[in-house]
Amino acid sequence: MSQLAIIYRKELLETWRNRKWIWIPLVFILMGVMQPISTYFMPQILKMSTMPAGTVIQIPTPSGAETVVKALSQYNLIGLLVLVLAFMGSVSGERQHGVLQLVMVKPVSFTMYVLAKWLSAVSVSLVSLLLGYVATWYYTEQLVGRVPFLRILSSGAVYALWILLVLALTIMLSSLFDSAMATAFIALAGAALLSVFTSLFHIQWSPGNIPSMAEQLVLAGKADSGFVASMLITVALVGVFLALAAWVFQRRDVV
């Protein structure tokens, strides 16, 4: 078994023992199914609240696809926050704690170490996304309206790429900074800025388009032009971030 597999296995064991394998999927499931459930119960909720007599509230009933999109935007807001916070100390934590000394004094490849860290974060995150998204789809079908499952799959796969990118950025920052807070702040600010600039200047090939493309895939079943370009650029950026992470990691003294 290669070093990558050894470290990856240890990471999986660690994320299992510190319950990340339980609470992160739970957060994604809860966040997702909240949307169809609140849509379904909205009329009752409104009825229960005391309104002045004669108030007329007209809310267009959202479609199934719109409900799923709401869940996606929750993932993009709170889900990313949760993932970044969960993995912000991935490298810097081991460095600060001191156990990195015992690991790096053995003939361990810096690249494999960083790669294993990223892969384990990706494993937890994508499983959480999958479970959460499928649960959202199920409740939406049951309570709100039909959404083709193929659209769910394609948009989830596209959105997964965005998560890969954010996690690669997080791991890179974590091997650069000792402060986990700095890592979280810069990773989240970076993702937010990328999205803002992308929509401000209509950069079609930007990775920042991915969340909105995922939404379009749900709503319309197809994405904008620039889809392929932004996918390719995202994959390339993931590679760049990981290579940078290994490079930064190697250049820094372990202690």
Binding site: E14, N18, P107, D253, V255
Partner: protein, 301 residues
Amino acid sequence: MALLEVTNLAKSYGSVEAVKGISFHIESGRCVSLLGPNGAGKTTVLKMLARLTSPTSGQIKFDVPHPQDVRSYIGYLPQQPAFHEWMTANEFLEYIGRLSNIQRSEVLTRRDKVLEMVGLKDVARRKIGGFSGGMRQRLGIAQALIHRPRLLIMDEPVSALDPVGRREVLELMGEIRQETTILYSTHVLHDAEEISDDILILVQGQIVVDGDLPGVRMQFQQPMVKIQGEVTLEPWHSVWARIPGIQLVTGSGAWVELTVEDLAGARNAILQSLTEQNIPVRSVEFGLTSLEDLFMKVVKS
């Protein structure tokens, strides 16, 4: 050729020169202690040898079959070893052993062997989070030995331990030195005298003494007279300082130490001074300076 050859090794942190271009070598099979006061740069030197910190300049050469990644040949015990607290001792040693590119079956036998050696066999299935300081130190030694290193580097292996733990670790080191070369840092001179073959004294980033223990003793040891009085002996310091052959008068209160160049010549003069001046003496001891005296001398100079 020596197992380890260090040439002009230097490390600066900003404008602070922690290690100022030191050169030394370590022969295979020796137990070498790196002595020095706190802040002398001992830890920095050891971390550079373990490839955890990169030198600002200088060379470190290992005489090993595959010098591309010398980390395979080094076992390292940091001053305060930190582990994955959520792992058991067994799991941690297996993890570290596998990272050293050893086959799984061999790691398992090796793991049991080192655990038995350091006396942690009974707690092998317990979480490291509940280990005491002494157990951590021994687990640290176990992980450093798991891949049969050629050189075992230990940073202050006994400093943080209580007398019992200290004794245990020293005995363990006595066993380990039969199999592998050891380089360890300490500021406890007594330990260095007890188990090392060679000593290196590092003061302010520079090596001031380097040699095998008997040689260093021979070179630096001087005859010395220790006098204890009934009252303070300070008034007579000047009397002794005037005796020819006495190099140094140190001590305070009822104790005084006279470092002597030629004991045969000075012995009578010292004894005479005691009777002539009617000094209330309790004990007089003629002996040799210890490593501690040497250490104090080089650190202060």
